[in-house]
């Protein structure tokens, strides 16, 4: 239906992942377009998390290819992939403030200091969590922590952002 110029953001071709005793991912094919919101649904243990971890590069695929922005990234290490995860347990760095957590990825990309400051503040404003900048993750509620985890990924403007179990903290309020 869409025209040719619609870019494919993520593509999986015949993806297979086996753990001892189980085939977690069995020949999965999918295409996600730019700006598309794509959800993986399924019963517990069917391999959703595993697929996301393979896309991010935290697990290696046994068979098949992962393409991000049209490039095969099977051999690209996770820290060079243009794709960020929001972890199931959020994984906010407990020894850093909220501001430092959000700035972490930008610092790794060697973005200029004042640019980092600007983008972190924009992001905090967007999430309406400006007041939390100098707090530590333990001092935030579950829902606030989740917004920070999302902000930490989105601030990098990745071409794709994979969010595990997005409704986990949502149900609380």
């Amino acid at each position: 239906m869409q025209g040719e110029q619609d870019n494919i953001c993520i593509e999986l071709r015949n993806l297979v992942k086996m753990f001892p005793g189980v085939t977690a991912v069995n020949h999965v094919n999918l295409k996600v377009k730019d700006r598309e919101v794509f959800s993986l649904l399924g019963p517990s243990g069917c391999g959703k998390t595993t697929i996301l971890r393979i896309i991010a590069g935290l697990e290696t695929a046994d068979e098949g290819e992962v393409l991000i922005g049209g490039q095969v990234v099977n051999e690209v290490p996770p820290y060079r992939r243009d794709c960020n995860l929001v972890f199931q347990n959020l994984a906010l760095f407990p020894h850093m403030t909220i501001g430092q957590n959000i700035a972490y990825g930008l610092e790794r990309k060697r973005v200029a200091k004042n640019e980092i400051k600007k983008r972190v503040n924009e992001m905090l404003e967007f999430m309406s969590l400006e007041a939390m900048k100098d707090r530590y993750p333990v001092q935030l509620s579950g829902g606030q922590q989740q917004r920070i985890a999302l902000a930490r990924s989105l601030v990098l403007k990745p071409s794709c952002c994979c969010w595990m179990n997005p409704w986990r903290h949502w149900t609380e309020n």
């Binding site: 991010a56 820290y79 994984a91 972490y104 790794r108």
Partner: protein
Amino acid sequence: MKILNARRINTIVSMIGYLFVWAPIVVLAIFSFNASAYGVKWESLTIKWYVDLFHTPEIMQAVLRSLLIASITTIFATAIGTLAGYGLYKYKFAGRRFLRMSVLLPITVPYVIMAGALLVYFTRIVHIPLGYPAIIIAHISFSAPLAVFVTLGRMQRINWSLEEASVDLGANTLTTWRKVTIPLLLPAIFASAVLIFPWSFNDFTVTYFVAGVGTTTLPLYLFSMLEYSLKPVLINAISLIFIIMPILLIMLIYLSKARTKHGS
């Protein structure tokens, strides 16, 4: 009533515990001011042992040597032990379980046996000269397991998604270590160093075997003083100094912590 009794018993038991810890130190403190050189019978109050102490260059040299050895040992043993603990926890390989269990072997083996084994090893097998190199290597080998042990305990309580999150956000392995892993392990690193330093500083047995000429550490010096010198009570004075220094240090750390907590 029952609860009250239980509480009273608790108090008494812990008092007895403290008595065992503190009584020898108090006795030591009092007798370091005793004028009698043999220290068993009280004569009169004096500070001459403390004056003597600072006028005996051999003691000062022994103290410096011990501090040097303990510092080097602490740095290397903590670094090696922490890395080993990390590897033993994170990476799966054949023999991992055996290695993990055998980590405490150097601590459980009687010291004299360990010392003898090290002596044979240094002189017959690897030919490391006795003296500083042998002492330091020996100290590292018996204290690194402590750091491994402490690190393994800490590793179990760390959320390892944090390392993955760091890598996902664009940090390579080295940066992840520097920015995430080491800060998370810091309590273990600190605890290891605090255990290893006095462990090395106090060691007598192993050092006695592998020390050479001119590398008499403080424990060795004190021992020889007990054997040959005419004023064993000098030991009380030096012991007291080395009991008071760590207590002061601990109090200082405690106070500074209390203040930062109060401030924020």
